[in-house]
Amino acid sequence: MAQQSVSLYQRTGIEWLRDFLRGIGSFLKLIASNRVGLLGFIMVIFFIVLSTVGPRFVPLDTKTKVTQIYVPPSREHPLGTDHQGRDIWSQIVHGGKDILYVAFLTGLISTFIGVVLGSLSAIIGGGFDSLMTTLADIWLTIPQFPLLAVLAGFIRLDSLSLLALILAVLSWAGLFRAVRAQVFSLKERDYVEAARALDLGLRHIVFSEILPNMMSYIAISFTFAMTSAIYAQTSLVFLGLVPISTSNWGVMISLAWTRGAIFSKDSIYYIMSPIMAIALLQLALVWMGRSLEAVFNPRLRAGG
């Protein structure tokens, strides 16, 4: 009997590998189970590939060609050309990198701030907690975008990382509140108390009992922080408040705006391309955020 149970409960390396692959498979299956989420996921992947790998294959067109101003889409120019006869497609390919970089970095920093401050506030409690909540409440009533615009008036926001840092710091309050509420409810769960009784240690409690159960929250917060970072960044560029150094979609809209392309009937592809790129990226992130919720929430996995 004992012999039997050993072989019954022993797991070989191949089995572990199989389980691992199965895990990835079920992750993809879950993403796929939500149609809108899958679409968002594919679109986000597309934008990432486009902006990271794309520039290697599509050179940025910088030559002015007077004969080719506002040419409609063709084989040669899939999205037509701009007011200087340059290829729009190549600008789209090259214009996403900065935006994604800032969005990703902002998401990372602000999620980190939110998770650390929110968890600390919920775990320490007492005076620290009430101070932090009051601060967050006040912070939330300050209109963020005007503050950002005023800030841009004071400092030159020409470093992408600095911009990301500022955007992340500005958005701490919302994330803080969400994470704090989550940790507050999670730390009162019976299984956390059981872990305390079993003396499993703070690290186990935080990283194994609490965090995995708020992954969906964190993931959604992350995508949310990314969308607001994209919004803030492109609007600042559009208003000309952030020094224009490289080409990105915001710069394209801004140029189209200042060159009056908006008021020209021929320039529809020029103005619509960056607009659609930004709008689709935002949509994709929001959709993906919803499906991530399903992936991390095991109660929704019941069927699988």
């Binding site: 009051t134 409440d137 006040i138 939330l140 009533t141 300050i142 209109p143 963020q144 975008f145 005007p146 503050l147 615009a149 005023v150 800030l151 841009a152 008036g153 004071f154 400092i155 919302g174 969308t227 994209i230 919004y231 492109t234 609007s235 559009f238 208003l239 000309g240 408040l241 809209i253 705006w257 908006i262 008021f263 020209s264 009937k265 529809i268 103005i271 619509m272 607009i275 930004i278 709008a279 935002q282 949509l283 992130l285 929001v286 959709w287």
Partner: protein
């Protein structure tokens, strides 16, 4: 028979100071008012120190500018700066700060650097009403529309209408507001030529006299139409989706089931039982929403060349007109806080649980 404490009539006793403080702390509206005042104070302080402590101190920048561009002596430049910023530059920081607060409490926000002789207050007085008008109308419209559509979606959540509305709602709430503004301009104004965008610029037709005539009112609505449309389009999606989920969860509440069991007419259930309770959480969301929509006015007024406070802020920023920037930012924050307070007030009228909290 015992009576719970909440039902006992309040003891008629002398009201001591301690009791007064407890009253204030336990009164929802007073608590909110104190918080609002504190937030205004917090923001002004933030702005003051931001200006003074920035790596490139805008006051120093301005003094330099006066010296280099206009050949002022350092002393003259300094005096000019001090008078425009309404700050005594020689005093220690703490005194400057108190001075600043004193000026502020008198409503003195300093003078514009770029158009000498113009007070910041007059700039605000001239442009703020237009923003309040367009943003307020937009918010009201989108709230009403969003709440109605949200309830409709919740009630018809198994029809084919719901996914369509949900799709539109999620599209509108995820696409940035300036993009919607540009799209309106490009398609309605340029491609399809449905609206005369040339004539719609500004906040009213030059020469028309402000009065309570139909002509004037329709004129200001004509000029504000596109900004208002943009505000509505960018925020209505959020209200729709929030109201939908709030309504769905309210529909699952026991008291709605009980109301049905009691045989109440469906209209009564929809309004007094579902609608009123489902809308409550939306009032707490107004805070973030108002801030967002007012902040968005900077972009929207720029796109439609609407002469409001957001447009003026951008002008001030690009001119580096610091006192105006500071003043406008303060007033924007103050109006957001004031509207939040208003939302809180409405909320406390609608939810008796908030009102009574102090009596427990």
């Amino acid at each position: 028979m015992g009576v719970p404490s909440a039902l006992r009539s309040p003891k008629s006793a002398s009201v001591g100071t301690a009791r007064l403080i407890r009253r204030i702390v336990s009164n929802y509206l007073l608590r909110r008012l104190l918080k609002a005042l504190f937030t205004v104070f917090f923001v002004t302080t933030l702005i003051f120190f931001l200006i003074r402590l920035m790596p490139s101190n805008p006051i120093e920048v301005y003094i330099n500018e006066l010296i280099v561009q206009y050949g002022f002596s350092y002393e003259d430049a300094r005096n000019q700066a001090a008078s425009l910023f309404a700050i005594d530059l020689d005093a220690p920081m703490a005194v400057q700060y108190l001075d600043f607060l004193r000026h502020l409490s008198r409503g003195d926000l300093g003078n514009s650097l770029r158009s000498p002789g113009t007070t910041v207050l007059s700039v605000i007085a001239k442009f703020l009403p237009w923003t309040l008008f367009s943003v307020g109308t937009g918010l009201l419209l989108s709230f009403t529309l969003g709440v109605s559509l949200g309830m409709l979606m919740a009630y018809k959540r198994e029809s084919s209408l719901e996914p369509v509305l949900a799709g539109i709602g999620s599209f509108l709430s995820s696409v940035p507001n300036y993009i919607i503004g540009i799209l309106l301009l490009v398609f309605l104004g340029v491609r399809w030529e449905l609206v005369p965008i040339g004539q719609m610029r500004g906040s009213m037709t030059p020469g028309i006299k402000p009065s309570l005539t139909l002509e004037f009112i329709s004129d200001i609505f004509f000029h504000a139409a596109l900004p208002i449309a943009t505000y509505v389009l960018t925020t209505v999606g959020g209200w729709m989706l929030t109201m939908k989920s709030s309504t769905i969860s309210t529909l699952g509440e026991d008291y709605v089931t009980v109301a049905r069991a009691r045989g109440l007419p469906e209209t009564r259930i929809t309004t007094a039982y579902v609608g009123r309770n489902a809308a409550l959480p939306l009032f707490t969301q107004l805070a973030i929403s108002i801030g967002f929509i007012v902040g968005g006015s900077i972009l929207i007024e720029q796109i439609f060349v609407y002469q409001g406070i957001g447009y003026q802020l951008l002008v001030a920023i690009s001119n580096r007109d610091y006192p105006v920037m500071q003043g406008i930012f303060l007033i924007i924050t103050a109006s957001v806080i004031a509207s939040n307070f208003l939302a809180d007030f409405l909320y406390s009228r609608l939810d008796p649980r908030v009102r009574i909290v102090g009596r427990e």
